[in-house]
């Protein structure tokens, strides 16, 4: 029910001009409606369009597809060799998409799709017989020339060698002669009966003999050389150990090949045959060789050589040829090719043992490389360590290897143990100041020569002296009592006296407060790393030096003297060990560098 219907019922006329347009719209809508659901159902919805555009795929679309035409495929005959005119065409059949009419229109003159892949190699045609003969003559001449040149060069070389050889032999001969003469002279002197003429004859004979020998040798050497030259190409490499065997083999081979030196000539027919095969097999040489059934005996290399040289000639005669192509073609050398193949052959002939050996060598070499790299890294670390302290002292002390090792050791220790730094520096000062470890400054302080000057008096002496003065002033009674000691102390004692009294002045030594037994005292030299102490221990044991046991190395009777001696001993042992360590390291380094440089 539309508005128009109502208007019709009520007989109300509307403006005519507007109606057709409306009707058209309506029909358009109706057509649209048909594509949807059933009409009755659609009417129920009313003028409102459904909120969701439902796809009505089901029946309708299948109907549509059923109505669609099947895409046509046509079985068509085709000729795979359309482009190649001379080949007789074969007609084959395949299925092609598209209707018959369409294809007929389209396919009027179209070549077969795969025909474009049928490509031929382009190389020069064989020239006619006359030109071929000309070429061959030229080639032969050139080759002859080359060969002669080569021969000449070889000959020169050979002659030179021969001259040298003969010279050498001449010298040797002369020497021999002289010796002989001398000997004979002696003999003649001894035996006067031998006539002079006979003697000269003898000498002459020997000279002739020697001469003939040398000439023989020369000719021999010549022969062997020619053999060598012929077979050089074939026998490209021969390992050193089998040299003798190889030369023998060479000779044999050379003898066999001598007739082949002048290979059978290439006739025009044979070359034609070769070119035909080359074209058929598209320059695949192994296959060309495989199918080469001409009565003459040829190798792959022969075939290649002939083909290339003819090609070069043909190309050279062409006006617009590519010079680089000719160059690359003339690079082919038959002897070199044979040599290369021989190399490969030998490579493949290795036994499993040889292969394994080679592999192990490679692995070892790699290991060496790694070790060297590691060493270099370590060395560079070391160098940076050495670089770090900017010396305020003179560099002189570090120029000896010992000083360097000491410094290194010290630096290592400093680096590792900051606490001990102070002490180590002190030790270094001692070590570097004097080559021999100097005993602690006790004797210096105690030496009588210094005591004369007051400024050289120790603190204790000064203290005691002051005390004495005080007590003298304050308490005369005490003064009397202590007088003996005071007097003794005040008195400048000689070293012998001090020793006798057991008196000892601690100079710059650090002292702990309180009373200490010397037997519990630690030796200052013992302030080392545990590992060093262990090695010190072993050294002491080796030297059979008695200790009180343990790692404290106290003397059995720890008197002051023995204690200082022990301390001295231990310090020197430590220094010795350091030295040894440094020496070992340097030696190892030297060895490595030597092996790297290839020195043994």
């Amino acid at each position: 029910m539309s508005a128009n219907d109502i208007l019709d019922v009520l007989n109300i006329q509307r403006d005519e001009s507007k109606q057709p347009a409306k009707k058209k719209q309506k029909t358009a809508v109706e057509i649209q409606r048909q594509s949807g659901m059933a009409r009755e159902l659609y009417n129920l919805i009313g003028p409102n369009t459904p909120p969701v555009n439902l796809p009505f795929v089901g029946a309708n679309s299948s109907k549509a597809s059923m109505k669609m035409k099947v895409s046509p495929w046509t079985k068509r005959a085709f000729k795979p060799n359309k482009l190649n005119k001379d080949s007789d065409e074969v007609t084959l059949h395949h299925w092609v998409k598209g209707s018959k009419e369409l294809l007929e229109q389209e396919e009027a003159d179209k070549p077969y799709f795969f025909e474009k892949f049928n490509v031929k190699i382009d190389f020069p045609e064989l020239v006619n017989e006359e030109t071929y003969d000309k070429y061959m003559v030229e080639i032969k001449e050139r080759e002859k020339r080359l060969r002669e040149e080569k021969k000449r060069r070889e000959k020169e070389k050979k002659e030179q060698e021969a001259i040298e050889k003969s010279k050498r032999e001449q010298e040797a001969k002369e020497k021999e002669k002289k010796e002989k003469e001398a000997k004979e002279a002696k003999e003649s002197k001894e035996k006067e009966s031998v006539s002079a003429s006979g003697e000269s004859q003898e000498i002459e004979e020997s000279a002739i003999k020697l001469e003939s020998e040398t000439s023989n040798k020369e000719s021999e050497s010549k022969e062997s050389k020619t053999d060598d030259n012929i077979s050089k190409d074939k026998e490209g490499d021969s390992s050193k150990e089998s040299n003798q065997v190889a030369t023998e083999a060479k000779e044999r081979e050379a003898n066999e090949e001598e007739p082949e030196e002048e290979p059978e000539d290439w006739t025009y027919e044979e070359t034609q045959y070769l070119f035909e095969l080359t074209r058929d097999f598209e320059l695949k040489w192994p296959l060309i060789y495989d199918r080469y059934n001409y009565p003459t005996k040829r190798d792959v290399e022969d075939l290649k050589e002939q083909f290339y040289r003819i090609c070069i000639k043909t190309l050279e005669d062409q006006p617009n040829s590519n010079p680089s192509l000719i160059e690359s073609l003339s690079a082919y050398s038959k002897p070199r090719e044979l040599e290369r193949k021989q190399y490969l052959e030998n490579l493949l002939k290795r036994t499993p043992a040889e292969i394994a050996e080679e592999e192990s060598l490679v692995i070892e070499a790699r290991r060496f490389e790694l070790a060297a790299k590691k060493m270099l890294i370590e060395r560079s670390h070391l160098l940076t360590l050495l670089d770090s302290p900017q010396t305020t002292q003179s560099v002189q002390q570090y120029q000896s290897s010992q000083g360097l090792t000491n410094l290194y050791n010290n630096l290592m220790i400093i680096d590792k143990n900051q606490k001990k730094r102070q002490l180590q520096q002190q030790q270094k000062a001692i070590a570097s100041g004097n080559q021999d470890p100097v005993p602690p400054p006790i004797p210096i302080a105690a030496s009588s020569s210094f005591k004369k000057d007051r400024s050289f008096q120790t603190h204790l002496q000064q203290y005691l002296a002051g005390l004495l003065k005080q007590s003298q002033n304050v308490n005369p009674a005490i003064k009397q009592e202590s007088n003996a000691i005071q007097q003794l102390l005040a008195k400048r004692l000689t070293q012998k006296e001090e020793e006798a009294y057991g008196l000892h002045f601690h100079g710059s030594e650090k002292l702990n407060p309180g009373v200490i037994l010397r037997s519990t005292q630690k030796l200052p030299g013992l302030q080392q790393k545990q590992s060093v102490l262990k090695s010190v221990n072993s050294v002491l044991q080796e030297l059979d030096i008695p200790t009180a046991g343990g790692t404290s190395w106290k003397p059995v009777m720890p008197t002051r003297k023995t204690m200082t001696k022990y301390d001295e001993l231990i310090r020197s042992v430590v220094a010795l060990l350091d030295l040894k360590k440094g020496k070992d390291k340097l030696e190892a380094e030297i060895r490595l560098i030597k092996s790297q440089r290839g020195l043994q």
Partner: protein
Amino acid sequence: MSSTANSASVYGGDEINAIVLDPGSYHTRIGYAGDDFPKVITSSYYASASNEPMEAEKEDSKIGSKSTKRIFGDAIDVPRSNYNVHPILKDSVIVDWDAALDQYHHFFKNVMNVTYEEQPVLITEPVWAEPKYRQTLVENFFEYYDFPALYLAKAPSCVSFQQGRPNCLVVDIGHDSVSVTPVIDGICMMKNTMRTHYAGQFLVDQVQDHLAKYKDLSVEGTYKIKSKTPTVYPENAEFTTRTLPEDITASYDEYQKSKIWHEFRETMLEVPERKLANNNMQQSATMKEFYTSDANTRLFEFPTGQSLSLNYDRFVFADSIFDPSIYKFANQELTSKYPPNNGVLSIKSKYDDYRPLKRVRKAESNQSTPPPGDSPTKPSKNGKHEVRGLSQLITHTLSTIDIDLRTSVAHNIIVTGGVSLVPQLTERLYNELTNTNPGLKIRLHAVGNSTERLNQAWIGGSVLASLGTFHQMWVSKHEYEEAGAERILNQRFR
């Protein structure tokens, strides 16, 4: 055209419904190019009535003439009186032309419904096919069937196509012959090809020769047996025979028996890990002990119901293919059947008449390293023939190949053919080859699927004949006549 272009861009293929025919010594395969499997795999034998005069047969043997009663396929197995069974091929070469053409016609027409005029045919041939044989083959096919075009493909080339390896060494261990062929760029190297007869039939003969000493073993064709009771060898066989038509020919019986032996070979044989014949007595003793163990014992039941259990012998049989010279036949007839063979083929060419000796020498001069005592001329010089087992044959072939190609070829050795399915064969082959060629990296490729390995040459032919680029290679009868047999055979069917 557009669709062909599209499909070509992906597969390079263009189906023209070509027929692929792969005649083998034991089985012949026929099918459509582009398929992954032949439609027909049939025995290369036929049966024909023996009382018919052969001359008459020949006259009638045009296509479609029903007067020749040749029976092909599985129908051979039906026992008929006076029907002889004959082989069609020998060494993969057709010997009985009439029967061959008849057989192919039978399968082309009756089984595959070939339209001769529209479908070209690709035929595989062995490398040793002689020019005369090839000529006959081509001429016969053009004469008898109306194929628009045909192509002769060498079987090893097809195998290389099947594997998609342009440079390879195809080792085909078939029924009649073992052949080793180097393939370069998809083309066979004729001069380097080797072939011996130490193949499937040789193994079967070994088995038969050896089992002849089991006197009470009753081997009868399946067709004779009506019912049976299982027994194990020393016991006698218990079976009842079926009533058969009279005058069953000896050749039929032989054919049926050979099937049993064939099955025996397929199921029982296994290649030992190492050479059994060893100089080291102790080692060979331990090996014998190992292979005699229960784990290596197998039971084979003959159609008569009698079973035979074998252990060490199973390995001995299979070992014979590697060392044919050691395993001598007791039967004199069999010995003469297998003369010593070093595998060198003499392929004839038109130039042979001039200096055949020279040419043989030339082939040798190419092999730059004749392994000591291994050169083919040596035995002939000494008047003594050398025998080459499987791995020796391959090693020798490798040594004759151009040094530049040797490594790539050694890395792509394809092992194919039915006998290569004998368990452990490829493993043994690999071990022996790596030991004898330490400088080369040996890699063997053998298809895992057994049916594919049996039909590898056919599948390769199917690949080849469905390629779009191949269709320019077909040779029509017209072209063949125009260009001449020799040129076509040498330049087109290479």
